[in-house]
């Protein structure tokens, strides 16, 4: 047996085959590479992010950039909240949740570093927020400890250090107070630590309304650090190992920090904590040095860095292209890189990096994402907007894909046609209308077929339909679908044949109402206008004869006209 295969737009068809012809029906298997778009919860992600995407594209270009930055940050936060909402719903499905967690982590870091572009001073604070958001179990554990009967004796009590590691001094102090109550003898020591924690300077936080310059902050911070160092030198905390550790952390002792690897759990937490206590005025350009060293210090030198780690490292190095590239490889769906790159492009952070087949990076990723969407039976409608915002190739892609959407009902066909009409894709409109008209004609729905021809302004097809009517008339002697022919209205003018049909039917009506002179005039005009098909001339002549017998009709003039018609054509 052999396997054959053929590529489809988003999948592969695989079939078994044997080269010698024999009986039996082979199976055809459809292999889909992108299962994510079929998950009902992720669909919400696609729909909501589509709405955000379209809103982003419509931000006016001419606004000054300082007004746009808060908008971009807010859009970035919107995207992230959509991811979080999905994660909450996806609690049970472990695999996807961990990917979404990683995705949100990376996006958040990109927002802090690239979009919000925090300068030195607030950079560390933003990074702290980032870490706190992604290590939420600290609060849970603390709650558990505090809810217990005797919190100070809880075995996990000293995990309170996590608060310190995250720079949350107020919470740390609140928890330490419980221990202080239990050890009245060590009251002085606890008071001293409490004081140090309270006085730790945070950039711009303790002086609302006044802005602090970086230098002012730096001076304050060094002063404070010296004070902490003094306490260490004085052995003030020697009797309590935990308190001494906290103090050492406050001066940024890396060896002690590394002892708390489990509480830190990731190298980037280690990095941020390190920066908080050793280099709180770090500049964005210096980040990468600390990031690399943190990673080396924290991780086992033998272990291979995971994809997430290299992506984060590339972000700290401000190598946006590397981040995008690594994410594209690591994730199997273009959603994340497509939207993130688009947002970064709007922030003017991507250099125009022309790929060798002509479009830029943003467009390439969006096209890939949208093409994947187009293979979905339902999400294809979202893809249309993405193609619209790819100036170079979007239209071509759309033209090719839109014709492949299966049209089971008139309503769906109408929506597809509306999409094409709004983009002046007249060829596609005609072809879709023709498909629908042919279908209608096959089912003998002449009215529907005519309605489609009118939409496409397809004169040729309208002629075809009229021929069918006239054939029916010749065969049966009466008209079918009178409700249609009697009420053609201006649509009659779409094609000569159709006009003839309408007028011919009117002739019959006038004859039936015994308005013979009007009928005769109409018949003559039909003849002279030369819109009658040749096959109908005999019929017209036969129709004319009984008219000549009618009193009102001026038969000499009429007969002359008829004879003229036949002789001269």
């Amino acid at each position: 047996k052999h396997l054959g295969f053929v590529w489809g737009p988003g999948d592969i068809l695989v079939y078994e085959t044997i080269y010698k012809a024999s009986g039996g029906c082979p199976f055809v298997h459809e292999v889909r590479k992108d299962e994510d778009i079929y998950s009902p919860i992720l669909r919400k992600l696609f729909n909501e992010s589509h709405h955000i995407f379209v809103g982003l594209q419509r931000i006016r270009e001419d606004l000054p950039s300082k007004n746009k930055k808060p908008q971009f940050v807010s859009i970035s936060k919107n995207y992230r909240s959509v991811i979080r909402a999905c994660m909450e719903e996806l609690q049970q499905v472990a695999g996807i949740v961990s990917i979404l967690l990683a995705v949100e982590l990376i996006w958040n870091l990109c927002e802090v570093l690239f979009i919000d572009a925090a300068p030195a001073g607030s950079l560390v604070l933003h990074l702290l927020d980032w870490v706190r958001l992604h290590k939420a179990d600290v609060d849970e554990k603390a709650r558990e400890v505090l809810a217990s009967e005797s919190p100070a004796e809880h075995q996990a009590y000293w995990d309170v250090i996590s608060y310190v590691l995250q720079g949350r001094m107020d919470e740390a102090r609140q928890v330490l107070v419980k221990q202080a109550a239990l050890q009245p003898a060590a009251r002085v020591m606890f008071k001293l630590l409490d004081n140090l924690l309270m006085k730790m300077p945070i950039f711009n936080v303790h002086s609302p309304g006044e802005t602090q310059t970086l230098t002012e902050f730096d001076v304050k911070w060094r002063h404070w650090r010296e004070e902490v160092d003094h306490c260490l030198q004085d052995q003030s905390f020697a009797s309590n190992r935990h308190l001494e550790d906290i103090c050492k952390i406050l001066v940024g002792d890396e060896d002690v920090l590394l002892e708390y690897k489990e509480l830190l759990s990731t190298w980037y937490h280690f990095l941020v904590t390190r920066l908080l206590f050793s280099h709180p005025t770090v500049k964005p350009t210096e980040l990468h040095y600390y990031a690399q060293s943190s990673m080396h210090m924290f991780l086992d030198t033998r272990s291979v860095p995971e994809p997430l780690d290299s992506i984060l490292l590339a972000a700290f190095e401000f190598d946006i292209h590397q981040v995008i590239k690594d994410c594209s490889i690591a994730l199997n769906n273009w959603w994340f890189v497509g939207h993130l790159t688009d947002l970064l492009d709007h922030c003017k952070l991507l250099q125009s990096h022309n790929l060798h087949f002509g479009s830029n990076l943003r467009e390439f990723l969006l096209l890939e994402y949208a093409s994947g969407l187009f293979t979905h039976h339902s999400l294809w409608q979202l893809a249309v907007d993405y193609f619209d915002h790819c100036p170079e190739f979007g239209r071509v892609y759309l033209e090719l894909q839109i014709e492949r959407v299966p049209l089971d009902t008139e309503r769906k066909a109408l929506k597809v046609i509306r999409i094409c009409e709004q983009r002046q894709m007249t060829e596609q409109v005609r072809s879709i209308c023709k498909i629908m008209a042919k279908k209608a004609l096959r089912n003998n729905r002449l009215g529907s077929a005519l309605s489609w021809s009118i939409r496409a302004k397809d004169a040729a097809f309208a002629t075809l339909i009229s021929e069918r009517f006239l054939q029916d008339y010749c065969a049966k002697g009466t008209f079918s679908d009178l409700d249609l022919i009697d009420n053609l209205g201006p649509a009659m003018l779409l094609s000569d044949r159709l006009t003839f049909l309408g007028k011919y039917r009117e002739f019959h009506r006038l004859y039936g109402e015994k308005r013979f002179s009007d009928a005769a005039k109409l018949l003559l005009s039909l003849m002279t206008a030369k819109i009658a098909p040749h096959s109908f001339w005999m019929t017209l002549l036969t129709d004319a004869l009984p008219l000549l017998e009618q009193k009102e009709v001026n038969w000499p003039t009429t007969l002359t006209s008829i004879l003229n018609f036949f002789l001269l054509t």
Binding site: P40, I41, R43, K44, N47, E48, H50, H51, V54, G55, R58, H377, S378, Q381, L382, D408, T409, E410, R411, K412, L414, K415, R418, Q422, N443, N444, R445, L446, G447, S448, L450, S451, I454, S480, D481, D483, L484, N487, L488, G489, P490, A491
Partner: protein
């Protein structure tokens, strides 16, 4: 847009309908049904918006619809109506008409009755595009141009009007208990009287100009001769079926197909329409001449063309619909949804509550419609 939240449901919604509340009670509706389309597995779903009359306006999730139950549906749900408090009739793109029963105690749905080939062509199925009920009678129309009359709990067909139309019939509504009105894809309104035998409509109305396909029709709740239609060009037409075969007024409403139009059942001075262009408009007539207060949301001015002045000169609110301009009354439109949306396929309004569904796979519920 106060009071409107989106609920993403992972299926494109084709129809949304409130479950009827008894006219004597002043309760706001709390249960609605939705039908999906364009999915490999379509379904009908029942949703609840929870307790009424709870006035904690700052709690965002209070009005979030909760899914009560769901049932698989063969084919796209092209129309959906509540037959009574427990039963829902759907029209399918496979040509089937189905009655579902909602069991309140177990919160489940089950199929109660099915007419599988209600609408068909000689060789295959034709989508059933519209259904309307007047319990226990059910009238359906389809792309095959047939009108079918069924009775719930009775097998078989009560009556068929064959070849009622040479084009696809898009929507149907009751004018009186024995008369219906259909609209089709060549822009005609046809009145049918069930008391007459035969397959001919009792009246045909259409525009003299371009015959645009009509997609929706709704009758004024109190005046049985006033009807609103919407079609492919997004224009709102108000007709008086007693007077000639031309609409009384035409108003530009939307920039693409209007999918549904509804008079408010108890405040007919309000009308709602939704469209492929992603907008949902709230039309409001008032007969006071001072400047109207803005409803919040975006207001647009409407351009109206009065075709014929109405006969008789009464100053009732009805005339405001018929003239469509501010001389005799005041007509105001408000957008009810944020912009940049995909098509709004369906809407329903009852009491102060409005629900609508979109191609963006979202449902929007507004519990404080200003009427």
């Amino acid at each position: 847009m106060d009071g409107i939240n989106a609920k993403y449901v992972s299926k494109k919604i084709s129809k949304t309908r409130w479950r009827p509340v008894s006219s004597s009670s002043l309760q706001q509706p709390d249960i609605f049904a939705t039908g999906s389309w364009d999915n490999e597995d379509n379904s009908i779903s029942i949703w609840s918006i929870g307790e009424n009359g709870v006035s904690s306006m700052d709690d965002e999730f209070e009005g979030d619809p909760q899914l009560l139950c769901e049932y698989k549906h063969n084919g796209d749900v092209l129309d959906l109506q509540f037959l009574d408090q427990d039963r829902i009739v759907t029209a399918s793109s496979t040509g089937a008409v189905t009655i579902f029963r909602h069991h309140h105690n177990s919160q489940t749905l089950s199929v109660s009755q099915l007419w599988e080939r209600a609408h068909h062509y000689p060789c295959n199925n034709a989508p059933c595009t519209g259904v309307v009920c007047n319990s226990p009678e059910i009238v359906t129309v389809g792309e095959d141009g047939r009108i079918m009359l069924f009775r719930a709990d009775q097998e078989g067909v009560l009556r068929t009007i064959e070849m009622a139309d040479s084009s696809a019939i898009h929507a149907v509504t009751f004018l009186r208990t024995t008369e219906i009105l259909t609209v089709n894809s060549i822009g005609q309104l046809k009145l049918w009287d069930f008391r007459q035998p035969g397959n001919e409509p009792s009246q045909i109305l259409s525009l003299t100009g371009d015959r645009v396909p009509l997609h929706c029709v709704d009758r004024h709740p109190n005046q049985q001769h006033i009807v609103a239609t919407g079609g492919q060009d997004g224009m709102l037409c108000i007709w008086d079926v007693r007077q000639g075969n031309m609409p009384i007024s035409l108003m530009e409403a939307h920039t693409s197909e209007m999918w549904e139009v509804h008079f408010h059942p108890s405040n007919p001075g309000h009308l709602f329409s939704c469209s492929e262009d992603g907008s949902l408009l709230h039309w409001e007539t008032s007969s006071n001449t001072d400047t109207p207060s803005l409803q919040g949301g975006r207001n647009t001015s409407i351009i109206s063309r009065s075709a014929i002045a109405p006969a008789g000169g009464n100053q009732s609110l009805i005339n405001a619909w018929l003239t469509g301009d501010s001389s005799k009354g005041h007509l105001e439109t408000t957008h009810m949804l944020p912009s940049q949306m995909l098509s709004v396929n369906s809407l329903d309004v009852l009491g102060q509550c409005l629900v609508c569904g979109t191609d963006g796979e979202a449902i929007y519920v507004n519990r404080y419609v200003p009427i």
